[in-house]
Amino acid sequence: MTRNAEAALLIAAAVLAALGVAMVNFASGIGFDAQVALTFLVFVLSFGGVHLALRRWAPTANPYLFPIAAFLAAIGFIEVYRLDRDLAALQRWSLLVAAALAAFILFLLRDEGVAALRRYRYIFLLLAIGLLLLPLLPESWPLYGAEVFGSRLWVRVDLPFGDRTLSFQPGEVAKLLLTVFLASYLADRHLALATPRKIGRLSVPEPRQLFPVLVAAGASFLVLIYQRDLGASLLLFALFIGMMYVATARSAYLISGATLVAAGGVVAYQMFDHVQRRVFAWLHPFEDFTDTGYQIAQSLFALGSGSLTGSGLGLGRPDLIPAAATDFVFAAVGEEMGFAGSVAVITAYALLVAAGFGIALRARDVFRKFLAAGLTLVIGIQAFLIIAGVTRLLPVTGITLPFMSYGGSSLLANMVLISLLARISHGERT
């Protein structure tokens, strides 16, 4: 596949988004309006811009990444637009900014590639932990933390002009920085970590080698648990374990990781009511229908009502699902686009993950390999965790669906993530 094919697919995604908006309009009796053209324009500008950046600064980069991301962004945008036009307008701005940032990253890394990032790994680690701590800032400060739906994940700034508040989720960026740190650290130490010291019969990794990783993991966890962010905790944990496994090829990490997750889950269940409520809602969504089970029950109703081909865009009731535009956007897609839409979305994530792991497999040096694997894990685990929650395969963990959920921070982080993957793949194709 060539860059030209990529361009064609990106335009197809822009057409998809615009057509979706037009269909939503028709369903509500509006017909064509400026929103249709505006959506097409924003998608063409955003992804077209990234595409031009790729042509200039990473011409041999993997051409599948951005078309898949654009497809997911288009599907998600249609549902966000269908649910709330104001949110959709904001989301368009976010897409423009995110694309600009992705292109800027490609520009910054144009000569050295991602290797340049290795120099800053400890800065990244500190930044990540700092960002994770930001939401704990007191509310009286100009930059302050805010609690939304019982989780303290947000940072806000009251802008001096107008009556506006800028809010963002620093955790979204922190997960990227932590991935870069881990990839970089493990690239230096993976040999040492893979040849553990023997203490009697037990094989234990060199503690000195492991220490920074444990600090990074521990600090991130504590913060996230304090902020009651189950989804991010689980994501980061799985990321650590996955990257340790890639770096050392020792399945002991996977086994001990799974054991820790199980133990941590039991402890969290004992300690926190919000964990208990989530598990109860997962097991018995209809028993406490009006309270704890409401969201998951609404999600199941939406998916079931969507059935094979969906209610049609704008013709369902995804507005009945709490958080339909953010964490539960998959249920909204499943209702209006049906089983067909659900499977298309899951398949797109599988393809994206396949492309990501393909890049990791072909990468020639370990840092690129680890980074590509880590970034791919971030996307894959996130998509899996939230779709599993929405479909009641697992308890709901509260995490955004990459590229599809409404939310600037998430879109920004994921576009940058994809541009890093693209940069890794540049010049390393076999």
Partner: protein, 490 residues
């Protein structure tokens, strides 16, 4: 190093596959269960929001209509302009309480097919008419109004049929309710109040409640006598004041407590006109259980009614349950004991006599019409069977005419029209009696001449109380309806 990456990739693919499995389960296998769950607000919204067809009476009065919401042209609101008058026939289509009446039984015609199901889309592509169908009822709004006015505040029911087709001309049950109060999402308390109302306004007494038919059942007993040849209109009986019942200390006495006529001898016709229990008890004893039960069943008892609206079965105990209880046969023959009939069943008996003995299927939907007002289907009269011979029907008609011209049913008379009838007063333990009148007109109708059969039931004395009889309470109500039908006032 690539080994672990491949393992992780495989793990994530398996996880994605699990997601596909989960959405298959939710959206394909279990889809209907979630879609139709009563707690799924989509069900409620779809019910409340869809356009439904118009329902009009035979004479063009709109009784149910859907109108687009001014603020959202996709959402339709149902309304029932006639309120209480058609509540039991049309029923309601509500968000909270589902559908009843024709709104339930004719839902597939009344609902718009304009949806995004595969069949809906196919239909649209193939140029099918997706707009909802409308219904024209057999009910005549003028008669319905007269019947309702005549009932007034009394608890009871009126059923009028066209004896030649089975079409229901009027069907009123009192007390009623206003379906417009049940439509909204906020109708919960209103619906609960109706459900718990001891007066049972939701019950269609005309077709869904069965009562002791009292002396109106003597039409069935007389029919059995004529059909078996055990009795004829002129058969003469000893006019006793009291009929001793075999195997029992109980007796049967007349309503007057005296003899039927002059205390000597009396014909079956006179006994019928005067509604004498002694003579019909005697006839019941002569007949025995078998022919009496068989005759009732030929008229429709013990069979679930075939109708296009909900109707209860009228019942009479099986013949073999009377073997050791001859007294019960006599009491059943005068419409007491365990025989139970709906007003609809009794109207069908009158209609059968008017129609020369054939039982016709009652129906309330005359036509289904499209949004272009072209008739899509028309209900054809269906003969359910023959209950009595034309000769028996003719003889019964003359006996019933005597009830109105010189018997207990004189208050049902309409000037210039030969009206046939039979009154009934059914005892209710611890309360005033139920009053009945069944009848039809005109007797000896020419082919093509308009005909009507009617049944009126007033529960527990109506406005009269203890002294209520079929002749004083029910017959005047029938008279009002009959007079309007034949174009007479008063």
């Amino acid at each position: 190093m690539n080994g672990p990456i491949r393992h992780l990739a495989a793990t994530l693919f398996l996880a994605m596959l699990a997601l596909v499995g989960m959405v298959s389960w939710l959206q394909v296998i279990q889809a209907d269960e979630y879609r139709n769950d009563p707690r799924n607000a989509r069900v409620v919204a779809a019910r409340a929001g869809r356009e439904r067809g118009t329902i009009i009476t035979a004479d063009g009065v709109v009784v149910a209509v859907s109108e687009a919401d001014p603020s959202d042209p996709r959402v339709f609101r149902r309304s029932y302009p006639e309120g209480e008058q058609y509540a039991h026939i049309v029923g309601y289509s509500t968000a909270l309480f589902g559908n009843t009446g024709l709104e339930a039984s004719k839902s597939s015609e009344l609902v718009s097919n304009r949806d995004s199901t595969i069949s809906g889309v196919l239909n649209a592509v193939l140029g099918g008419d997706l707009r909802p169908r409308g219904l024209r009822l057999t009910i005549n709004d003028e008669l319905q109004t007269v019947a309702r006015d005549a009932l007034g505040g009394q608890t009871g029911a009126v059923v009028a049929l066209d004896p030649t087709t089975g079409a229901v001309l009027a069907m009123v049950s009192n007390p009623s309710f206003d379906p417009n109060t049940l439509l909204g999402i906020d109708a919960g308390p209103a619906g609960e109040a109706l459900e718990n109302d001891p007066a049972e306004p939701l019950l269609n007494r005309a077709a869904q409640a069965a009562y002791n038919p009292g002396s109106t059942f003597k039409v069935v007993t007389a029919a059995a006598g004529l059909e078996t040849g055990i009795a004829g209109p002129g058969t003469v009986y000893d006019d006793v004041t009291e009929l001793a019942l075999p195997g029992s200390t109980a007796t049967i006495r007349n309503f007057s407590r005296g003899p039927c006529a002059d205390g000597t001898q009396v014909s079956l016709t006179t006994a019928f006109a005067r509604s004498c229990n002694t003579i019909f008890g005697e006839l019941g004893l002569q007949l025995g259980a078998e022919p009496l039960v068989a005759q009732a069943e030929a008229f429709g008892f013990n069979t679930e009614p075939v109708t296009d609206f909900p109707a209860a079965t009228s019942t009479i105990p099986a013949a073999d349950t009377f073997t050791d209880a001859l007294a019960a046969v006599a009491q059943t023959a005068i419409g007491e004991r365990d025989v139970r009939a709906t007003p609809l069943q009794m109207a069908m008996i009158a209609a059968t006599v008017a129609n020369g003995g054939e039982v016709l299927e009652p129906y309330v939907v005359a036509e289904v019409f499209t949004a272009d007002a072209t008739i899509e289907s028309r209900t054809e009269p269906t003969v359910l069977g023959r209950a009595i011979s034309p000769a028996t029907a003719g003889a019964l008609a003359e006996m019933m005419e005597r009830v109105v011209t010189g018997g207990t049913g004189s208050r049902a008379a309409v000037s210039g029209v030969r009206i046939a009838g039979k009154t009934g007063t059914a005892e209710v333990p611890g309360a005033a009696p139920h009053s009945w009148f069944i009848g039809f007109g005109p007797v000896g109708a020419e082919p093509g001449q308009p005909q009507i059969a009617i049944a009126v039931l007033i529960e527990e004395g109506g406005s009269v109380g203890e002294d209520a009889t079929g002749g004083t309470v029910a017959a005047p109500i029938a008279q009002a309806v009959l007079a309007r039908f034949f174009g007479r006032t008063g």
